[in-house]
């Protein structure tokens, strides 16, 4: 584990909240990104990210210092996201209107509403489309595809995060890739 992370964890355990704030700053983008990709919804991603860091704070004593911190952190994050997905019903779709608004959709909240040049609009649409495709994947494949292709993690690290044998991870990567291919082959 890197020296900075180790120091921040030690300080947090001693009761230094500022050290924990630094730890959150250090890891918030990668945690938020993984969770956002899994749930496909900005507000939910923020809630689950907060929940993740709170769980980390409360369970820091259980963290095994000989293991990589990000592995443990991603495990807490993916568990929290998967829990939420299981409880979620009905499913929220990007094109749904947000309650209490006239015409705001979740999709419109994905990026800022500043005036955008046309190229950027095309890019936004492409981004929403990619996210929609990720959301179509069954959760057990989605998690693995996100960790492998968006976080660029090794199969071994994914097997530690998901607490499953590497052979299972491989099967899911294969099936996840095939599922994506079947949807996208005619593009």
């Amino acid at each position: 584990m890197d020296i900075l992370t180790a120091r921040l964890i030690r300080e947090t355990k001693k009761g230094n909240e500022q050290a924990f704030a630094e730890l959150v700053e250090l890891y918030k983008d990668s945690v938020y990104q993984v969770i956002y990709r899994l749930v496909g919804h900005a507000q939910e991603a923020q809630d689950i990210s907060q929940e993740t860091f709170l769980r980390v704070y409360m369970n820091l004593d259980k963290y095994d210092l000989t293991k990589k911190f990000s592995t443990w952190l991603f495990r807490v994050a993916t568990n929290a996201a998967i829990d939420r997905l299981r409880r979620r019903k009905p499913d929220i779709y990007l094109q749904d209107k947000i309650k209490g608004t006239d015409d705001l959709t979740y999709e419109s909240q994905l990026t800022s509403s500043e005036d955008l040049p046309e190229q950027q609009v095309v890019k936004m649409e492409q981004q929403a489309w990619i996210q929609a495709e990720i959301n179509q994947l069954p959760v057990k494949y989605r998690t693995i595809i996100v960790l492998k292709y968006l976080e660029d993690l090794s199969l071994k690290e994914i097997s530690e995060i998901m607490d499953m044998p590497i052979a299972t991870v491989k099967t899911r990567v294969h099936r996840g890739r095939e599922a994506l291919r079947k949807r996208m082959r005619h593009l």
């Binding site: 009761g15 909240e17 924990f20 704030a21 959150v24 700053e25 918030k28 983008d29 945690v31 938020y32 990104q33 956002y36 990709r37 900005a42 923020q46 990210s49 907060q50 860091f53 709170l54 704070y57 409360m58 890019k123 492409q126 981004q127 990619i130 996210q131 495709e133 990720i134 595809i145 292709y149 968006l150 199969l155 491989k170 990567v173 294969h174 890739r177 095939e178 994506l180 291919r181 996208m184 082959r185 593009l187």
Partner: protein, 82 residues
Amino acid sequence: MSTCQFYNEVIHRYLDGEATKEETAAMYQHMSSCAACEQHLKELKKSIAFIQSSSHIEAPANLTACVMSQLPKQKKVSRFKR
């Protein structure tokens, strides 16, 4: 197992970076006469590239502040006890 089924498994090992040199050479050899397998690999590569073209997302600016405002307070209390 048909030849194509066999190579389907090789294709996935290849994409995982786990196919041997020999397997990879045999796979390309097979594809030189099997358009279906060649197409299959092409589509898989395209799907991966599509997923990877998604932009990096940053956490909302107030995330850290929100987390910190929700921390339980007992740690501070224990400091007073000392």
